[in-house]
């Protein structure tokens, strides 16, 4: 079958590739671009380990073809830290012990980043609702909820600081 030309922006960088139409977006990220932070868990649209942001919306990259993302802008877990500084959500997972084995973590973090972009101060219920599509077998979720609350507080503090304070 004929290949398809795609132009996809990932973490602010534009990539042009010839791909097979059946190439899943998660394989494009991992195998074409070497961005292995996005994990493949269940491969059946249930576990959320492959979650990325597609134009700021959380989606499961195992349930999309790369060709569907042509012309779109993606963010993966690799795109969060800036200048060696962890994103507040990453920092929250670190500080609040939001992970043990770490397998679900990149997808979990991307869902949370998606949540906090839409809702800066979510309730515990809203946090649990937002990570409903991300399965964690280690933590029992409580520490993840704590991590999200940490991140929300941190981001609220950052927003309060006068411009140029850091």
């Amino acid at each position: 079958m004929a290949g398809a030309h795609v132009s996809i922006t990932v973490n602010g960088k534009s990539y042009e590739r010839e791909v097979e139409p059946r190439l899943l977006l998660v394989h494009f990220l991992r195998e074409e671009l070497g961005l292995t932070g996005t994990h493949i868990g269940c491969d059946t649209s249930q576990c959320g380990a492959c979650t990325i942001l597609l134009d700021d919306i959380a989606v499961k990259s195992c349930t999309m073809f790369a060709v569907q993302a042509d012309g779109r802008s993606l963010t993966t877990v690799e795109g969060l830290a800036q200048g060696g500084q962890l994103h507040p959500v990453q920092e929250g997972f670190w500080e609040e012990h939001g992970l043990q084995c770490g397998y679900c973590t990149p997808g979990m973090i991307m869902s949370v980043v998606g949540l906090l972009q839409a809702n800066a101060s979510p309730s515990e219920q809203e946090i649990r609702h937002a990570i409903h599509g991300n399965l964690c077998r280690c933590t029992g979720y409580q520490h993840i909820v704590n991590a999200v609350q940490y991140a929300a507080n941190k981001m609220a503090e950052g927003a309060k600081q006068p411009i140029g304070a850091d």
Binding site: M1, A2, Q46, G48, T51, T63, V67, D70, S111, G133
Partner: protein, 290 residues
């Protein structure tokens, strides 16, 4: 899991999509949000040779108040339906059902039209469409036609859509005054699919139930109406006792599926229990009790 190879087409208009459907016929499959079709393709239970992606077709994603009806574009995502103030305030049953589908990521990609055209027996929306007497608008090479929800779901995974038609719009007739509605489901915990899903729409007139419509998803091979319950409730006093009695007939006439998730007997039992609960909520809303 890698799907079978296919040729990818991304038309930018419904006309072009129809042209491609006409050209490739049975070998082609329309791709909407992909959250039913892509998992099947990965399992190779579906292996279309041509995939026609509707993702770049303009003008199929909207929710509009058109006076007598609310019109929803077929490519509107479940997230957008769930978040719509218009639907939440006027057609709670639909907004609630959309909010109960899968999880956040699934709702961000999955579409109302894709779900209805796929007609999965475990999907939430078919029963909602039946309870709302919705109309489904299909465009084909020879024009546009409107299909009543009652005629749309013909069989397991099958609809009244012709192979060369595209579902473009869902129309929800305005509900009469003093109407309350809700969607309640018993979901499979892993997939979120309905083991039993009840869409209840109740209209009261004073202290009497003027009309009741109950759509049942997840139970049989296709969604259906619990017509026995509807008839038993119409004209009855608008109270919990009448609902309790009527709900006993909610599984009548439905041939329930039995599988590893729930036996046929258990599904029938759940239909009665959830019909009672959903009808009570809808009735309360119709009476202005939230």
């Amino acid at each position: 899991m890698i799907p079978s190879a296919f040729e990818y087409h991304s038309p930018t208009s419904v006309e072009d999509a129809l042209g491609l459907l006409g050209r490739f016929g049975d070998d082609a499959k329309l791709l909407a949000g992909g959250h039913s079709l892509i998992p099947l393709m990965k399992l190779r239970l579906a292996a279309p040779e041509h995939l026609i992606d509707l993702g770049r077709v303009q003008g199929l994603s909207y929710i509009r108040d058109e006076g007598g009806a609310i019109a929803i574009g077929a490519m509107t995502t479940h997230s957008a339906v769930a978040a719509s103030e218009l639907l939440r305030s006027r057609v709670a049953v639909l907004a609630e059902a959309a909010a109960s589908i899968g999880d956040v990521q699934v709702r961000n990609r999955g579409t109302i039209g894709g779900s209805l055209a796929h007609a999965d027996p475990g999907a939430d929306l078919p029963g909602v469409m039946l309870a709302l007497n919705a109309e489904l608008v299909a465009r084909g090479a020879s024009g546009t036609r409107t299909i009543a929800a009652a005629d749309f779901f013909t069989d397991l995974l099958s609809t009244a859509l012709e192979p060369n038609e595209v579902l473009t719009e869902i129309r929800i007739p305005v509900l009469p005054a003093n109407t309350g509605s809700t969607y309640l489901k018993f979901a499979n915990q892993a997939s979120g699919y309905a083991i039993v899903g009840i869409a209840a729409v109740v209209t009261v007139s004073g202290a009497t139930v003027a009309d009741a419509r109950v759509g049942v998803s997840g139970v049989g091979e296709t969604a259906s109406r619990a017509s026995g319950t509807e008839q038993a409730l119409r004209g009855q006093p608008a109270n919990a006792d009448a609902v309790k009695r009527a709900a006993q007939q909610a599984a009548d006439g439905i041939e329930p599926l039995g599988d590893i998730h729930a036996s046929a007997e258990y599904r029938s039992h759940l239909v009665r229990v959830f019909a009672e609960r959903a009808l009570n909520t809808a009735l309360g809303r119709a009476q202005g009790r939230g």
